[in-house]
């Protein structure tokens, strides 16, 4: 796996949130999804910057929705994960699993 394909930590989190949200993924929902699942507050700016990088890498796709009154007449941009995105998540997960192999017991032990 080349360096360019490796997902950064925030990239993984954002990509996972997009995957979780299915059709409902856009700035605000992605932000709240991350907050809900991880308790972590990521600024909208960071979410957008990460999404832009993911899109440039071809891992997510986006399309513009309808203008909405609750948004001051502005449209949402909906993000959906692409097959390449799912593959990248899988790859990252495998990397971590391999790295974790053999440590699980110990970590559990420490936690106890």
């Amino acid at each position: 796996m080349s360096k360019g394909d490796f997902l950064g930590e925030l990239e993984q989190v954002v990509l996972l949130a997009v995957a979780q949200l299915g059709d409902e993924g856009y700035g605000v929902t992605i932000q709240t999804e991350i907050a809900r699942r991880s308790g972590r507050r990521v600024s909208l700016g960071s979410v957008y910057a990460t999404l832009a990088r993911l899109e440039a890498k071809g891992l997510v796709g986006s399309k513009l929705g309808e203008a909405m009154a609750t948004r001051g007449g502005r449209a949402r941009r909906h993000f959906r994960i692409k097959p390449a995105g799912l593959r990248a998540l899988e790859a990252s997960r495998r990397v971590f699993e391999r790295m974790w192999e053999g440590l699980d017991q110990g970590a559990e032990g420490h936690r106890a």
Partner: protein
């Protein structure tokens, strides 16, 4: 504050993010609504929201978003680069907090000065009136050279003359008014209001629509109906901004009037708060009863010049027709000027001087910050060299240095506008509380803010450029090569620093001299004998309503009042008078008996009607004859006491006791005494001729009188008791225009006091800045020459010799600057000549004083670091780099 970014931020975001801004703004709005729901947003909600918004302005976010889409970097890359410059600069400043603080304070004070002065100049001189098409709104003044009356626009016209003026075809809507005080009752509230009585409708003349209701209708004016218009401030402050007031009745001196309108905000004419139609027609008054003023609007197609030409023709016609009856008319002039000119002309010189002073202050501030930046250049040159070695282009470094200056300027701007707003408000309160309020108000409005911002920008570029040129010239990386000891660089820096200090010294001297002139004028003024004892004299005005006090009831009221007040503890003496120095206004023509008066000349004098106790109460000095006495009564011969100025002017200085004169009517008045003149028309003016008559002998001529109380202690401590005494006679009788005579003198010097105060403040600031500059130069020089000092001391030089060496070198630019500054100070003195009192523009004493102060402060600022250098241990000094 709106939860959604305003127009400007949204625009900026769109420029930075391109199409992504749309979704970003949409998301911001959506998350705001989700966060707040229907409740009232808390401060925390706002804070989180602004943080969220701010996150889009992070350079990394901008870069990521821009490069993620086609059309990439371009402009946004530049902005991102600028933001990252800002971050570098910010970190740099945080590492040097002392420098940053000093620079921001310096700029902040300069901007504060700019804000206050431009606020005052804008509010009082440039835009005092919100009247539409104000250039066509004119005041009409008159001058009577025969009577020695110069061109005046205040209480100067008779009703007949108003009608003459109204004939001019180049003037449309000519209106005239008289002024006085009226007690106005609305509901439970009774207020004494300064009122105008109008012939003609002021609204169309001023070119304004009322804020509420309407102006006077032509019918109402013709029928002299009882209708009233209130000023906005009275309606808001005293009548609770109740819009139901239109159509409601108010009592004006007990008579029912209908309120038909409220003036728009700030529309004041001489501070007038109540506008009502004049209850009688112009034809009632004699031709020389001059107490009116005239406002007019130029007719379409007319110019000020054409109007004045026509007024000149009218003046000559009137002269031919009436000169035998009213000798004043010989050579009299009628002149129209723009209303703004009429009111603010006297303030203009002070405004110009203060604007000039602010310019100097900002030059000085810029120079000073430049020397501060230069002072950091040795530390910076290493950092710049490193960045240059790592590939930063000269342009990038240049940009970073300018960014730093602009950031400092922006911080200074914020601080300065804050301080300046406080200052402007304080000044505005002072102006508003004066006896004769200036038309206009001082506020920090858009124009003032724009001026402050432009000044800050220019200053930022100015003080940033000089050190940047210095730091970026030549081989940037030399300081890496020779370990910072590039002696030519240091020599060039020291040269530049000295040059700047010389410049600062010149500016400081000019400022010191400018304030010195004024302080000197003030000292001369305070050395002037006002002609009586001004201390501990409380005054206030009472207007007895004509509806409630018949003429015969007026003097008994005041006799009663004098008795009651005189019996109060802490009251030494009490009097009532129609006017008092330094601002007497009632003037009349007099006909002198047994005196050769040049034909055509018409002597006149200020007429003060007072209780006989006025003379001992004020402490007037008797020159000849006697004071007015209690025994001068209606039955006994009419008597008057005159002042020395009258004797000098009309009797050639000879003793006038026993001589007689007439005022208007046939009755002869005998002069029984002469008192020393008081400064009755202002401290800086020669006393005008004045005579005093007794209200006991001539009762009931004036229903408005001033109560004058001499107290043993603080005059204002007596005020509650005096009020009680008034209430004891008539519970509904208000007192107003309460001030001490000392305050009245101070107010008459308002222009000069404000100018003096500001210039002294600026002068002191200039001195501090110059001292900081000198200190910086000497500190730097000594730090660079430590080794040399060591050698000198090792070779036997005394500490004093070392100290002297550095002090001498530092003082050369100061003295050079002082010489240059003295030349500038001379020019400044000429520019401010109208503000000076018996002080010449090049006053050697002032210049010498300023130079001495500057030299003393410069010496001290040089001595401290020089002495520190001389305390070095020679051995350690030799070892140092």
């Amino acid at each position: 504050m709106s939860p959604v970014p305003g127009r400007w931020l949204a625009w900026l975001l769109t420029r930075l993010l391109g199409e992504d801004a749309e979704q970003a703004l949409g998301d911001l709005e959506e998350s705001w609504r989700a966060r707040v729901g229907g409740r009232r947003p808390s401060a925390r909600d706002r804070w989180s929201h602004w943080r969220e918004l701010g996150s889009f302005f992070r350079p990394s976010v901008i870069q990521a978003l821009r490069s993620g889409r086609e059309g990439g970097a371009g402009r946004a890359g530049k902005v991102a680069g600028m933001l990252s410059d800002l971050r570098v600069v910010w970190r740099g400043l945080r590492r040097a907090p002392g420098f940053a603080l000093l620079a921001v304070l310096t700029i902040g004070f300069g901007i504060a000065a700019t804000t206050v002065v431009t606020g005052a100049v804008d509010g009082l001189v440039l835009n005092p009136f919100p009247f539409p098409d104000g250039k066509r709104l004119v005041g009409v003044g008159t001058a009577y050279p025969k009577g020695g009356t110069p061109l005046s626009f205040f209480e100067h016209l008779s009703p007949a003359e108003y009608q003459d003026i109204a004939r001019a075809g180049s003037l449309e809507r000519v209106v005239a008014w008289d002024m006085g005080n009226r007690q106005v009752t609305f509901g439970e509230v009774t207020e004494n209001l300064f009122s105008g009585f109008w012939w003609g409708d002021a609204f169309p003349t001023l070119g304004m629509e009322p804020h509420l209701g309407r102006g006077f209708s032509a019918d109402e004016l013709d029928r002299r109906d009882r209708v009233a218009v209130l000023s906005y401030r009275v309606w808001r402050d005293r009548f609770g901004a109740d819009s139901a007031i239109v159509g409601k009745p108010v009592l004006v001196n007990g008579d029912p009037y209908e309120v038909v309108g409220v003036m728009p905000p700030r529309t004041l004419v001489y501070g007038m708060d109540l506008w009502i139609p004049m209850p009688i027609g112009p034809e009632v008054y004699p031709r020389n009863r001059r107490q009116f003023q005239v406002l007019a609007r130029l007719a379409p197609g007319a110019t000020l010049a054409s109007a004045n030409a026509e007024l000149e023709v009218i003046a000559r016609q009137v002269e031919r027709a009436f000169v035998s009856e009213v000798p004043d008319y010989e050579g009299w002039r009628i002149e129209a000027r723009t209303w703004a000119d009429v009111n603010v002309a006297s303030l203009r010189p002070a405004a110009l001087v203060l604007l000039g002073a602010v310019g100097f202050v900002m030059l000085l501030v810029s120079t000073n910050v430049a020397t501060l930046l230069l002072g950091r250049s040795s530390a910076r040159s290493r950092e710049l060299a490193l960045r240059s070695a790592l590939g930063a282009g000269r342009g990038r470094l240049w940009r970073q240095l300018i960014t730093e200056s602009l950031l400092l300027a922006a911080a200074g701007l914020a601080l300065g506008v804050g301080l300046g707003t406080l200052g402007a408000n304080a000044l505005d309160a002072t102006v508003a509380s004066m006896a004769a309020p200036l038309p206009g108000s001082i506020e920090v409005n858009g124009r003032v803010l724009a001026a402050a911002a432009v000044v800050a920008l220019i200053a930022g570029l100015g003080f940033g450029t000089i050190p940047a040129i210095h730091m970026l010239k030549g081989d940037l990386q030399r300081s890496l090569k020779v370990d910072g000891a590039g002696s030519t660089a240091h020599a060039s820096r020291l040269r530049l620093q000295r040059l700047l200090v010389g410049f600062e010294a010149a500016l400081a001297l000019a400022m010191l001299a400018g304030s010195g002139y004024l302080v000197h004028s003030f000292r001369k003024l305070s050395a002037i004998d006002p002609g009586f004892e001004t201390e501990r004299l409380l005054t206030m005005r009472l207007s007895l309503a004509q509806e409630r006090y018949a003429r015969e009831a007026i003097e008994p009221f005041f006799v009663n009042l004098r008795e009651r007040v005189g019996a109060l503890p802490g009251v030494l003496a009490v009097a009532t008078a129609s006017q008092y120095p330094p601002r007497v206004f009632g003037r009349a023509e007099i006909q002198l008996q047994d005196v050769e008066v040049p034909p055509g000349a018409s002597p006149s004098a200020y007429v003060t009607l007072a209780s006989p106790s006025l003379m001992p109460t004020l402490g007037l000095r008797l020159v000849a004859g006697r004071f007015l006495e209690e025994t001068d009564r209606p039955g006994s011969p009419l008597v008057a006491v005159v002042n020395q100025a009258l004797v000098d002017r009309y009797y050639g200085g000879r003793n006038p006791i026993g001589r007689r004169f007439r005022v208007g009517g046939d009755e002869l008045i005998e002069i029984v005494g002469v008192v020393a003149s008081t400064r009755n028309v202002g401290l800086d003016q020669e006393p005008g001729p004045e005579f005093f008559g007794s209200t006991l002998q001539l009762p009931g001529l004036n229903n408005q009188m001033f109560l004058v109380v001499r107290t043993a202690g603080d005059p204002y401590q007596a005020l509650p008791l005096v009020r009680e005494a008034v209430k004891g006679i008539d519970a509904d009788q208000p007192v107003y225009a309460i001030r001490t005579i000392e305050e009245a003198f101070a107010e008459s010097q308002f222009r000069r006091r404000v100018s003096t105060f500001m210039l002294s403040l600026f002068g002191g600031f200039a001195l501090v800045l110059a001292a900081v500059g000198v200190y910086g130069v000497v500190s730097y020089a000594t730090s660079q020459r430590t080794r040399e000092v060591g050698v000198r001391m090792a070779l036997g030089a005394s500490r004093r010799a070392v100290t002297r060496l550095f002090v001498r070198q530092a003082m050369l630019p100061v003295l050079g600057g002082a010489v240059l500054g003295a030349g500038v100070a001379f020019l400044i003195g000429r520019a401010m000549a109208t503000l000076l009192f018996e002080v010449e523009p090049g006053d050697p004493l002032t210049l010498l004083g300023a130079a001495l102060v500057l030299a003393a402060v410069g010496l001290l600022a040089a001595y401290v670091p020089a002495r520190r250098a001389s305390r070095l241990d020679p051995v350690r000094a030799l070892r140092s780099d």
